[in-house]
């Protein structure tokens, strides 16, 4: 069987798979109900189910496993056969971490009893995850004995399932997930953990690989180690001059390696046991996978990656940003877990939340979704199929209509048109991670509280760490500024980060990236090459003068003007900004922006340091500036809503254009949408026609999305 990924779709033997799946946890359901429930799931239009395969449930005593010999609910082979017979494909998620709202998240208790296997905080205490109904210490995935224990479970699992024989078409499994939500359990503050023996050994090996010899490391870290064994990670933020920063950034960047190596070790075991042919994937527990999560790095050893999200409808922008990121950066952008129902202790998600947020993720580029949970079970409520097989009709009908509409409208074969790419700068993200206040709070935890609707710098220190300004907090504000300014201007944009390859950048007409006094040398070169090749590169407010090792580097800086004047707390378009940098040049009066040709593209420098912005309305005065910027890059704004709170996404397919128009507010809106193409649209759900006027008018109820298609 040949698996491949093309145009962000999974192909099996060249045929695109409709990647819509639902979670069904066999060990929590009576076996006699498996078949009837699968039929109900198929009745909604799902051709795939997803299931965890919990280590702690199958391990009945240390290294002894039950796959149905004593408890029929654990007969995984029978469950997979039932799926196969029903024509249902399976996404397998064997862990070792699974969460699944289980006590101890699927790890056997004996793992925690072995103190040697545990990850450690900076003070040496075991790292605890405060999760109900029991908190537990976290294992270190780099401990050889932990890896051996995991392998023992996987070997038993593979033997029970017949190894590669369980893979489609011999069995129902079409993809396997390596571990789950590997993110240091969201405690990603670099000075929180892991300081265990094996983690530090991995850190030293990583530094060795990166720097080659100790002399080079000592030079960059300003240290005097006589052997690699002497190298110790920093335990708190300590930087009084710029030259101290590389050591901080290295430890922070090591967090990315730590996570990726954890997933890689699990993925390697699974490939050994189930064969190289089956796609192996992973998922992240946040919507915007900032460092230490590293999608591009992980795609070296994974086939695809997705994100998980359980949003209320009010968290629209947090989810939107994450989906914009994943759909730009992932080979196959999927929601590996997207809410269908709720966990027992979380705020309930209503069917209204479900309807709005599901269309929202599809609107912004998600190409496949696994709805977690499509079949209700212990510690979960509100799914369309109940634990006893009964149907929850309103929910059931929603999913049935959803899948039917997606297929009827041909959305799976279309792609989202976005000429602009906003890049998160990974170095500054790392610095922001290190500067995050109140550890174990981390850069990614606030995402659960709707981070984008809060000031981006609210829990980032304003310290400069030896640099000439507080780069971490200013960067966070600037990134949020660009997000909201592009949104308020109705620009169609994706989000990525500076790990993006040249190939990926070349898909966009304009790339916007915040720049401060230091920046990775290779990234600067990649961006410059992008502009040379015809792209429009928007940078600023500062011209980078140093590389990631704080050594002089003027790859970009040599092409950028020195400021003529810098004004603090100045007004721009009637909005007070923290700083505006003025450049002399072509115009009569100094301006905070200028552009010049580079190769066959443009380099645009914008000298703004904004205060915190938290909504499209905050950034609305900058919409005309963005509009001019887009035109500078040869981008004619299209389908722009007159109400800056309204969001439009444009999808193109063969002979068809589809518009998604969203109202993510709690008030009804009536907006015009600019339109120059002479196309006539109809509401795909109701058939209501819209005049081919410019602009055409549309009304939307609170938290609703309309899908309009060109009239055939």
């Amino acid at each position: 069987m040949d698996y491949s990924i093309k145009n962000q779709r999974l192909l099996i033997d060249g045929q695109p798979l409709s990647f819509f799946s639902g979670s069904f946890q066999y060990w929590r359901i009576e076996p006699q109900l498996w078949g009837p429930i699968l039929e109900s799931v198929k009745g909604m239009g799902f051709g795939i189910i997803e299931t965890y395969m919990p280590w702690s449930v199958h391990e009945v005593s240390p290294c002894e496993f039950d796959f149905g010999s004593t408890d029929a609910r654990l007969d995984l082979k029978r469950f997979l056969d039932t799926c196969h017979d029903a024509g249902v494909k399976v996404l397998a998620r064997p862990g070792p971490h699974i969460n699944a709202e289980m006590t101890y998240f699927g790890y056997p208790e004996r793992i925690f009893a072995d103190e040697d296997l545990l990850a450690r905080c900076a003070d040496g205490s075991a790292v605890v995850l405060p999760a109900p109904p029991r908190m537990f210490p976290l294992p270190c995935y780099h401990h050889p004995r932990f890896q051996a224990q995991v392998r023992t479970y996987f070997e038993a699992l593979a033997q029970a399932l017949g190894g590669p024989g369980a893979i489609y078409p011999n069995g129902p499994i079409i993809a396997i997930q390596a571990d789950n939500e590997c993110s240091k359990f969201m405690r990603t503050n670099p000075f929180d953990w892991d300081y265990s023996e094996h983690a530090i050994a991995l850190y030293r090996a990583w530094l060795h690989e990166k720097y080659g010899d100790l002399e080079q490391l000592n030079k960059v870290h300003r240290s005097s180690h006589s052997s690699w064994q002497m190298v110790d990670p920093p335990r708190r933020v300590q930087a009084s001059v710029a030259a101290d920063v590389p050591r901080l950034l290295d430890w922070t960047q090591f967090g990315e390696h730590y996570i990726n190596e954890s997933v890689r070790s699990v993925a390697t075991m699974l490939r050994d046991l189930f064969g190289d042919d089956v796609p192996v994937f992973h998922n992240y527990p946040v919507t915007l996978p900032v460092p230490p999560l590293d999608l591009i790095g992980a795609e070296e050893f994974l086939d695809f990656q997705g994100i998980d999200s359980y949003p209320q409808k009010t968290a629209y922008h947090t989810v939107r940003a994450g989906v914009k990121y994943t759909s730009a950066m992932s080979r196959l952008p999927v929601m590996v877990e997207f809410s269908s129902g709720s966990i027992y202790y979380a705020l309930p998600l209503t069917l209204d939340d479900q309807m709005f947020t599901t269309w929202a993720i599809l609107m912004h580029g998600i190409k496949g979704v696994n709805f977690y949970m499509i079949v209700e079970r212990e510690r979960w409520y509100g799914s369309p199929v109940k634990r006893d097989g009964a149907i929850r009709q309103k929910h059931y009908d929603f999913f049935k209509d959803l899948l039917s509409d997606i297929r009827a409208w041909g959305l799976e074969g279309m792609s989202c048109e976005r000429p602009v790419l906003l890049l998160a700068n990974r170095e500054y993200e790392r610095l922001a991670g290190a500067a995050t206040l109140l550890s174990p709070n981390s850069r990614i935890i606030p995402q659960f509280a709707g981070a984008l609707e809060m000031p981006a710098d609210i829990l980032i220190s304003d310290e400069s760490h030896g640099l000439s300004e507080p780069v971490a907090s200013r960067y966070a504000r600037l990134f949020a500024f660009w997000y909201w300014a592009l949104t308020s201007a109705g620009a169609h944009f994706a989000v990525g980060d500076t790990s993006a390859t040249a190939d990926l950048l070349s898909d966009y007409s304009m790339v916007i990236v915040p720049t401060f006094e230091f920046m990775d040398r290779a990234v600067q070169q990649t961006l410059l090459d992008y502009a040379s090749a015809g792209g429009t590169l928007v940078v600023g407010p500062r011209a980078p003068e140093m590389d990631e090792r704080m050594e002089p580097c003027n790859v970009l800086g040599s092409l950028m003007h020195a400021p003529e004047e810098t004004r603090s707390k100045a007004e721009v378009f009637g909005v007070e900004v923290e700083e505006v940098v003025l450049f002399g040049g072509q115009e009569d009066s100094p301006s905070f922006t200028y552009r010049h040709r580079h190769g066959s593209g443009w380099l645009v420098h914008v000298g703004l340091v904004p205060f915190a912005m938290c909504s499209a309305l905050d950034a609305e005065p900058f919409a005309p500036m963005v509009d001019t910027l887009l035109r500078t890059g040869g981008i004619e704004p299209f389908f722009v809503p007159s109400d800056c709170n309204v969001d439009v996404a444009v999808w193109r397919g063969v002979g068809r254009t589809v518009l998604f128009v969203a109202n993510p507010t709690d008030e009804a809106v009536h907006t015009g949408i600019s339109h120059t193409g002479g196309l006539q649209f109809e509401d795909l759900k109701t058939g209501q026609s819209f005049e081919a006027a410019d602009p055409f008018e549309i009304g939307l109820e609170p938290y609703t999305i309309k899908v309009l298609g060109t009239k055939r």
Binding site: E109, V128, P133, Y381, S383, L437, L438, E463
Partner: protein, 278 residues
């Protein structure tokens, strides 16, 4: 107190959503200025340096002239925040470290959480400061005392059913199983297919019998009309309304121990006195 493998099943969809929103629904309506959260300032500091000051209600950063933790009162009056919380930058990490050092994964969840409370108590007035200052020490009630109180209040092998009805039909419900000192079950009337079922006539007794035969134990139920619950919650005289509800049949009881009645009256009395003081 909470069994490690507590069974949580059949919570319903609308049922559980309504239950989780119930506290908000019962909160007395506020208008005008009352609606705003009280102004509070969070200062994250290192020595004599402020790393971040946050207006908690407005979720925005503010600039403060920091005078150190010994002069929070002055900061409060200058900035106009009736509540100031000052956290040393490592305070949260220290609380976690205290808790983590003591924590055993086999311990009860309540005891585990108490570890964090003990950690906070240890950092109180070392790295955690407030204005108004609060007590000199945070009293941490021993977990054993909490367990004993619960044991004395809940008869062993009970199924505690709480339901809110609307014109006799279930609007929301929760069932808690308690056995041998542990809560072992959390479910709702959805487990009997009664997510919005009629509890009128003898249906409550039938439901209780079904629950009992399904899970074991004696059902002890309190069923109240939604309008009545709101009335009690928002009443100026909760005691009188509770008394009325119990006697009018708007609040139905099944196998309710006397100690619960005493507790209900005591809490209604306390609420009444509190409202009279206000």
């Amino acid at each position: 107190m909470i069994r490690k493998d507590i069974t949580i099943i059949d919570l319903g969809a609308d049922n559980w959503s309504r239950l989780m929103r119930l506290p908000k629904e019962l909160a007395p309506p506020r208008d005008g200025d009352e609606k705003a959260m009280p102004r509070a300032l969070l200062v994250i500091y290192r020595g004599l340096r402020v790393l971040r000051a946050i207006d908690i209600a407005e979720r925005r950063t503010v600039e403060v002239e920091w005078l150190g933790v010994s002069r929070l009162e002055e900061l409060s009056s200058r900035m106009g925040y009736p509540l100031v919380i000052a956290l040393e930058e490592t305070s949260l990490a220290r609380v976690f470290e205290h808790a983590q050092r003591d924590l055993d994964f086999r311990d009860d969840m309540g005891y585990q959480w108490a570890g964090f409370l003990r950690g906070a108590a240890r950092e109180w007035r070392r790295t955690i400061f407030t204005y108004p200052g609060g007590p000199s020490r945070i009293p941490v009630v021993p977990f054993g005392v909490v367990e004993s109180v619960i044991r004395s209040l809940i008869p062993n092998n009970s199924l505690l059913l709480f339901a809110v009805t609307e014109r006799g039909h279930v609007w929301t419900s929760a069932v808690l199983g308690y056995r041998d000192g542990d809560f072992w079950l959390l479910t709702s009337l959805d487990t009997l297919g009664m997510e919005e079922g009629d509890l009128g006539g003898g249906a409550l007794e039938v439901a209780a019998e079904s629950l009992s035969s399904k899970f074991g134990g004696k059902v002890r139920a309190v069923v109240v009309e939604r309008s009545e619950l709101e009335r009690i919650g928002r009443s100026r005289f909760p005691l009188a309304d509770l008394y009325w509800a119990l006697n009018s049949g708007d609040m139905r009881r099944l196998n309710v121990p006397k100690r619960w009645k005493v507790l209900m009256f005591a809490s209604a009395l306390a609420a009444t006195l509190k409202k009279r003081v206000e």
